[in-house]
């Protein structure tokens, strides 16, 4: 909407308004710049202090390594290309486990919400499985699915499945009754209600589950790899730890952090695209 000035006085008021709005925007930009600068300073201080305390011999690099050593390790790993197969395996296990677990969890949540009988029968079993620390199942998964990628995928699925099932159910349950009533009065069949109201209405809750699930999928895969694996970044961590190479452990953890950030970003982006209608989407 544009406001046009009718008198000179009006013009002055509108000018002042525009100026104060510009001021506000400039202030906001300056603040953002300062936040980023402060973050860089905090990071620089931390890394610098770490490097320096090791240099002067205040802390033992055998236990804590050193930023320069970690950087050297990563450069070496990337240059000889030895890290990529492990990154690939971990990434593949995570994505497959996440996809299967999320798909199954959403489907289970939908089925349980559509068929209360199924929900009532399955409740105690699913509750027990859900409260069980799934990582404790890792040895069994290795026996069942082998030392290869299957057991890691299984562990990831066992975590992601429940997160998505519970979030999907919460999403469907929290649906505004008014919408269901309105659509029913408009002549929606049960099937149409489900596809046009309940499922789209549950999408925000499902995305909450996906954001959590992707982090847990990575966690499960790395734990599985650390317990027993031929390949993968978790296996590398266990290997470096066993040979007392702190820079190897910390360097690999840094790579995992980058992967975790990337996966999280992918889910957030997908959410932004799919939930444009909310306007306040995070």
């Amino acid at each position: 909407m544009t406001i046009t000035a009718r008198t000179a006085d009006d013009g002055r008021v509108l000018d002042t308004l525009a100026r104060s709005e510009a001021d506000r925007r400039a202030r906001r930009r300056r603040r953002t710049a300062w936040v980023w600068a402060a973050r860089a300073i905090v990071l620089g201080l931390f890394v610098g202090l770490w490097q320096w305390t090791v240099d002067i011999g205040a802390i033992d690099p055998f236990f804590f390594s050193q930023p320069s050593a970690i950087a050297g390790f990563l450069v070496e790993e990337v240059r000889d290309g030895s890290i990529w197969p492990h990154v690939l395996v971990t990434l593949r296990e995570t994505l497959v486990g996440f996809a299967v677990g999320a798909g199954g969890g959403v489907a289970a949540g939908i089925v349980r919400m559509q068929f209360p009988f199924v929900a009532d029968v399955s409740n105690p079993f699913l509750t027990i499985l859900n409260v069980l620390p799934r990582v404790a199942l890792a040895p069994m998964f290795i026996i069942w699915f082998g030392v290869g990628e299957g057991s890691k995928v299984a562990l990831a699925v066992s975590l992601v499945f429940f997160i998505l099932m519970l979030n999907t159910e919460a999403g469907i349950r929290s649906l505004d009754r008014e919408l269901v009533l309105t659509m029913r009065a408009l002549g929606a069949t049960d099937r149409q209600l489900f596809w046009k109201v309940m499922l789209p209405g549950a999408v925000p809750a499902i995305f909450g589950g996906l954001r959590l699930g992707v982090v847990y999928a990575l966690l499960a895969v790395v734990v599985g790899e650390m317990i027993s694996a031929h390949m993968g970044l978790g296996q590398r961590i266990a290997f470096h730890a066993a040979s007392f190479r702190a820079e190897g452990v910390l360097g690999t953890i840094l790579v995992l952090a980058v992967i975790g950030l990337g996966l999280n970003l992918a889910v957030v982006r997908a959410e932004q695209v799919l939930l444009r209608w909310r306007g306040d989407a995070p």
């Binding site: 008014e178 659509m183 009065a185 408009l186 002549g187 149409q192 046009k196 209608w277």
Partner: protein, 271 residues
């Protein structure tokens, strides 16, 4: 009972849009005691009539509407709409609520078209109807806006357009303008009357706003409370087309309003 029939001429069933016949209904309170909500209510609505049901909140007005919509089954009696006993929601009936109930993930246009979508109307036809109705309710420029981007009044216009899009034979309206501020309310009433007066569909309109009932309707039925019974049936013989903004100062309008108001008071005293 102060009954004034609005239609003197005898009617055949063909002229009848809605027949509410000896309907009684009861609710179970949370405490477990049953409460009689409607007690032996009967009335007919001829095709093309705009009938308003007024009464204090909780008098079973909405229950009657829900019965006509097929969302609630009466404990006793029958509700017939367009010659058929209502047992489930009909695709020939439009229902509009006080809350817009717009799907937040659909644009205004896609909300308007949703009823047609449910009926399997082809996309091109849907788009055409959507455009026509966006225009009709004065929201031509807002077709791609999402509900959160619209004001309360605009959202209710979208809800009205959604109800009209399915071209219903009968319109059921449950305080459709109650959630709006006074100014917006008058504007929407005026617009709704303008749209209604073109094709005069049968309207069953529930409100607790007496002024609204008299300004819009051909006939007002006043319900008593707990149990809901018909206290008065008053013909509103004001000329059409009407302008709800101006009619408020009309003498005949004021006389009719007073009669409705007195019936309401008598109903309250009786219960």
């Amino acid at each position: 009972m102060d009954v004034i029939l609005s239609e003197a001429a005898p009617r055949t069933d063909l002229d009848l849009a809605i027949r509410v016949e000896r309907v009684s209904h009861a609710f179970q309170t949370p405490a477990g005691t049953p409460v009689l909500a409607l007690d032996d209510v009967s009335f007919d609505v001829p095709r093309g009539q705009f009938l308003a049901l007024v009464g204090a909140s909780g008098c079973g007005k909405t229950t009657i509407l829900n019965m006509a919509a097929g969302l609630v089954q009466p404990v006793a009696g029958t509700v017939v709409v367009n010659g058929a006993r209502v047992t489930r929601p009909s695709r020939r009936t439009g229902y509009m609520f006080a809350r817009d109930g717009l799907l937040p993930w659909r644009s205004a246009r896609r909300n308007i078209e949703v009823g047609l979508e449910l009926r399997g109307v082809p996309v091109s036809e849907r788009r055409a109807t959507g455009s026509r109705l966006l225009d009709l309710v004065g929201l031509k420029a807002f077709g791609s806006s999402y509900p959160w981007q619209l004001s309360q009044g605009m959202r209710q216009r979208v809800a009205l357009a959604r109800t009209l899009a399915i071209d219903p034979d009968t319109l059921l309206m449950d305080e459709p303008f109650a959630a709006l501020d006074a100014q917006t309310k008058l504007m929407l009433q005026t617009e709704f009357l303008r749209i209604w007066e073109r094709d005069r569909k049968t309207v069953l309109f529930v409100t607790h706003d007496l002024a609204e009932a008299v300004a819009l309707a051909d006939r007002v039925i006043v319900l008593t409370c707990r149990p809901g019974r018909i206290q008065a049936d008053i013909a509103i013989d004001l000329p059409r087309p009407r302008d709800p903004e101006r009619i408020r100062f009309d003498h005949h309008y004021l006389r009719l309003s007073e009669r409705v108001w007195q019936a309401l008071k008598a109903g309250e005293a009786a219960s």
